[in-house]
């Protein structure tokens, strides 16, 4: 069973390849019911996962699905197909490999269900969809192995939870199924092993030699980085020099917007016209595929990219990885660095390019952490129930099910091992009745119990809509962008919220080009080419990464130093300037800065309590400010500070920090807040209360969108204990709200609150103004601004004079 076919060994030999020890070990342990391989990137991890499959299939090929490979990225599935195809073809093995993702044509998908290949490469969402078909039991009956690649990336998300529920399903259909997980280096292998194995089975863990330490440095430039901003434009010449010095460079960014801006600037400075591409998740598929193909062919010298290239895609000869912007998270940094020098036992080479001076401090802290092998990560809680609701609906699509059996299946998934029957029943009830306190009518029953006790869909036609909404990825809603005119070229996607703010003539960046907004047609953003050198508006937002707590602790410690020999002079000077014009955060005290900026009053609270706690602090302080009539308009939180803006200046922060009053309204205020509504929206989509897709397209115009905010408000009012409200609170408590850390912070600082009233933005506050994820507060400020605008407009149009109706009253402070 564990021997490789001779033809494959020959093929290896002609290439001069030897099996790594961990690849050998995977063959030796091929019969383990579940096995987790931890190996650094470039260690031939994926091949190690497939070797037992190749051995078994070469020995006794039989028709039907043998191995299912699941990866978090579509691109990865395509890439593996290519890499696996070569040895199979050249060693003449009778093995058929196919991929199946959202991009696979429908005709091939249909054929795959009737006649599955030996090895099917897919994504968690496509797998969930496969298990929803009535013929799933036929397709998976002979399944021997499932290989989950990059399981560390899935383990932290709902996609992973959904995948593990699908595995539980597969295990029922194919009881002898063996599970294999492939993971990059992680801090806690046992946790991933628990998720992978069927609960309560044990999971074997195989750790490969981690290889040499990476060669990683901060890029030092002549020009100092700016105080704030994420563009890193200052570093363009230095980055271009590095690109010229290397064969292929990957330039990672934390957000798509930053990648677009950087690519644009890089292109403007690229006088030698080096072939440089851009790759991120919002680009049109054809465009992404072109870049991927060019890269595999070795035609590109550099690719500006985001997390879409984060995971183990084998892009040939990458010999340098550049990370622009602070890495935010040491674990991810190490995994990204692994992209360079895809040869085992050769150190990876990477450069960090901080985008502003605060990020210089963050980068230095991250480098120290990498040297000390201090990987970060917060353990996630138990499996979320919105995913469970979706899974119940998926099960119902596949055919009538028995609730007891489904429950037993679910608790065999590690993340749901602790799920009580009562909590499961609540999810079942949600699917069956909508879960409303009000008595149920037929129309809210999605599944019904038959006389024989089995559950089935009330309306079989519903299965199509359920399938269309499978998945847990919570991008905000996006709109497609296309060149104007008949058959205009698709360019990619932008967030709906960004598109809503555009007026005709506005320019923005997408796919490295500047385009002009022409209008919205049938929910497609139409644009034309524009020759402008400078886009007027920053582009869409992208993902927001949190700095890990470990990193922010390191940063506070650095702030307390007398001097900073480890930092570049410009950054040390910048910290000294902060100390001169305001002050640096100190242990046992709370620093607050207040200054006018951008037509608003700004308040910065440096709590260094981590993003969740700082976010909660933002929620609570704005509540107190609203009570005090200070008209707050919104806030944004980072791991080290909360920035609040509003109409009035805060002159005495002490009343705001009255713990009793802070806590008094916590529940009520949290319940009505934008953060909670955002959480609700995500869970409502996953659980199937709201539908993203109806009939394949989204409608536009009146009554088209059922606003999730309004649904949330109504449920809060009439049915606050509804399952979706419970889930929203659970999600919030899972990390969103870290009230204990605020209490602890208040206890630590007591009344030692230092308010610095200043005339302008301080060095330390500057980066906060470009932080994404701003939370609006809609309260008295809206009314005051509206009054102001109405008065202005009426004065301007002269209406105020000619109108006979009562004039708007003066603003009344509330």
């Amino acid at each position: 069973m564990t021997d490789l076919p001779a033809s494959l060994l020959d093929w290896f030999a002609t290439r001069g390849w030897d099996l790594h020890p961990h690849q050998r070990a995977m063959l030796d342990r091929a019969t383990a019911p579940s096995l987790l391989l931890i190996a650094p990137t470039g260690g031939g991890k994926t091949l190690a996962g497939f070797l037992p499959t190749l051995a078994e299939l070469a020995e006794a090929p039989k028709p039907g699905l043998h191995t299912l490979y699941v990866s978090p990225l579509k691109a990865l599935a395509a890439d593996i197909k290519r890499n696996l195809g070569t040895p199979i073809a050249e060693a003449n093995l009778p093995i058929r490999v196919e991929d199946r993702t959202g991009d696979t044509p429908a005709s091939r998908k249909k054929r795959q269900r009737a006649d599955p290949p030996h090895i099917l490469l897919t994504t968690p969402e496509s797998l969930a969809l496969l298990t929803s078909y009535e013929d799933a039991h036929r397709m998976f009956a002979g399944l021997e192995r499932v290989v989950i690649d990059e399981i560390h990336a899935l383990a932290e998300s709902k996609r992973g939870d959904q995948l593990m529920l699908a595995l539980a399903r597969l295990q029922t259909l194919a009881p002898n199924l063996r599970r294999v997980g492939l993971s990059a280096t992680v801090d806690d292998p046992d946790r991933i092993a628990t998720l992978l194995a069927r609960h309560p089975d044990r999971c074997e863990i195989l750790e490969a030699d981690p290889g040499p330490d990476p060669d990683i440095e901060m890029l030092v430039t002549e020009t100092p980085p700016p105080w704030s901003g994420g563009g890193a434009k200052y570093a363009i010449p230095a980055v271009l020099d590095e690109v010229k010095r290397h064969k292929t460079t990957l330039i990672f960014h934390n957000t798509r917007a930053q990648a677009e801006i950087f690519f644009h600037n890089l292109w403007l400075a690229n006088e030698e016209a080096l072939p440089i591409g851009i790759h991120h998740g919002s680009l049109d598929r054809a465009q992404r595929e072109r870049v991927e193909a060019a890269m595999v062919a070795g035609e590109l010298r550099a690719i500006v990219c985001t997390g879409s290239l984060d995971l183990g895609i084998d892009w040939g000869d990458v010999d340098l990885v550049i990370q622009v912007g602070a890495p935010k998270n040491v674990k991810r940094l190490v995994q990204r660095i692994g992209r360079a020098n895809h040869r085992y036992n050769a150190p990876s080479k990477a450069l960090l390019v901080p985008a502003n001076r605060f990020e210089v401090v963050e980068c230095v802290a991250a480098l120290q952490a990498v040297k000390e092998r201090d990987l970060d990560g917060d353990p996630p809680g138990p499996g979320p129930r919105d995913v469970l609701c979706q899974h119940i609906l998926i099960a119902a699509c596949a055919g009538p099910f028995d609730a007891d059996m489904l429950y037993a299946e679910m608790i065999s998934a590690g993340a749901y091992a602790g799920l009580t029957r009562a909590r499961f029943d609540a999810c079942l009830d949600f699917c069956a009745t909508g879960g409303y306190a009000l008595r149920a009518y037929d129309q809210w029953r999605r599944i019904v119990q038959r006389p024989d006790g089995l559950w089935q869909l009330r309306d079989p036609r519903a299965s199509q809509r359920i399938r269309m909404n499978i998945g847990t990825i919570q991008d905000t809603d996006t709109l497609k962008v296309r060149m104007r005119g008949r058959g205009g070229k698709p360019l990619g996607e932008v967030e709906e919220g960004f598109a809503a703010q555009l007026s005709k003539g506005d320019t923005f960046l997408i796919g490295g080009q500047i385009v002009r907004y022409e209008g919205l047609r049938e929910m497609v953003v139409e644009v034309s080419r524009d020759a402008a050198q400078k886009p007027k508006i920053a582009t869409f937002m992208g993902t927001k990464f949190a700095t890990s707590t470990q990193l922010s602790h390191r940063i506070v410690r650095m702030c307390q130093q007398e001097d900073w020999p480890e930092l570049p002079t410009h950054t040390a000077d910048w910290l000294k300037l902060q100390r001169d014009v305001s002050r640096l955060p100190e242990p046992g005290r709370l620093l607050i800065e207040s200054f006018p900026h951008d037509g608003r009053e700004q308040l910065v609270v440096y709590g260094f309590a981590g993003r969740n706690a700082q976010q909660t602090l933002g929620l609570l302080l704005t509540k107190r400010m609203e009570e005090e009539g200070q008209a707050p308009m919104g806030f944004v939180a980072t791991d080290y500070a909360t920035l609040i803006w509003g109409l009035d200046a805060v002159t005495d922060p002490r009343p705001l920090f009255d713990m009793e009053r802070l806590e008094a309204g916590l529940d009520g205020w949290l319940a009505g807040n934008a953060v909670m509504k955002r959480t609700f929206r995500a869970s409502a989509h996953i659980a199937g209360l709201l539908e993203r897709q109806v009939g394949g397209t989204r409608k536009t115009g009146k009554q088209a969108t059922m606003s999730s905010d309004i649904l949330y408000d109504t449920l809060l009012k009439y049915d606050p204990d509804h399952l979706l409200m419970q889930i929203t609170r659970e999600e919030a408590m899972r990390g969103l709200v870290d009230f204990d850390r605020i209490r602890e912070m208040k206890a630590r600082v007591g009344d030692r609150i230092d308010l610095e009233r200043l005339t302008r933005v301080t060095p330390l506050a500057a980066p906060l103004f470009l932080e994404p994820g701003r939370v609006p507060i809609r309260g008295s400020a809206d009314e005051r601004l509206l009054e102001e605008e109405v008065t202005r407009l009426l004065d301007e149009s002269g209406l105020a004079q000619v109108d006979t109706a009562p004039k708007p009253r003066r603003p009344i402070p509330s």
Partner: protein
């Protein structure tokens, strides 16, 4: 008080922050596009299971406005029910609730495109209603030469920029001839005043009255008007 008084076609009317219109001289409260039963319709197809509380929410608002104004006459200006059939299958306690609101009031259902024909509840059913110099119909007529037309149907919603922040609210639209009412029902969504349809319908001097805690009046934001930037 949460009202804004204005004159339209010689009548002094009050726009309520909730989206209702009150005419004190006639003791008349007008509400449009209640869309009762909308969630039930959307949930019926086996799709999303939207909360069935929309009718409660809408009727609670209506009861509050009736109390506050002491109105003796009510006009529901069409699309009161999301489908004509829903009026008949509305849950018993919601039907009873409507009957309680109707007690002692002259109640008129004007038919809309969603609910043509009688809806199986008390009150008068009309295609159009008339009080004083004002006409009440669901959809504005293309030529409103007579003037004084009050209609609904479009669910107008205004979006305005306030020093860099955008505010979007249901609104009344009013010019010298027409008054278009916002949708009163919960979960009803809206059509932006900048849409070509509304921009073409309303005269150049049209104003928008925004619903909210304090109704506010301003020139109607329109399609052709270049967008104002926050300064």
């Amino acid at each position: 008080m949460n009202r804004l008084a204005f004159t339209f076609h010689g009548a002094t009317l009050e726009a309520l922050g909730s989206g209702a219109l009150y005419w004190p001289a006639h003791g008349l409260l007008v509400v449009s596009d209640l869309h009762l039963g909308k969630c039930a319709r959307l949930s019926a197809g086996g799709g999303a299971a939207l909360p069935p509380y929309d009718a409660r929410e809408t009727l609670t608002r209506l009861a509050t406005d009736l109390d506050a104004t002491g109105a003796t006459r009510v006009i529901c200006l069409g699309d009161s029910f999301d489908t004509a059939e829903i009026g008949a299958v509305l849950p018993e306690d919601e039907r009873a609730w409507i009957t309680r609101l109707q007690a002692g009031r002259e109640w008129t259902w004007v038919e809309g495109n969603h609910d043509p024909g009688p809806v199986g509840l008390g009150g008068t059913h009309l295609r159009e209603a008339r009080h004083g110099a004002l006409h009440f119909r669901h959809i504005a007529q293309a030529d409103a030469h007579g003037g004084g037309e009050v209609s609904g149907h479009y669910h107008p919603k205004a979006r305005i920029a306030l020093r860099g922040r955008t505010l979007s609210r249901p609104c009344f639209l009013v010019d010298s001839r027409r008054l278009v009412m916002p949708a009163y029902g919960a979960y009803t969504g809206g059509l932006c005043t900048r849409s070509p349809v509304l921009s073409a319908l309303m005269d150049a001097d049209a104003q928008a009255i925004l619903c909210g805690p304090k109704p506010a009046r301003l020139p109607m934001p329109r399609a052709q008007q270049p967008r104002r930037r926050a300064s």
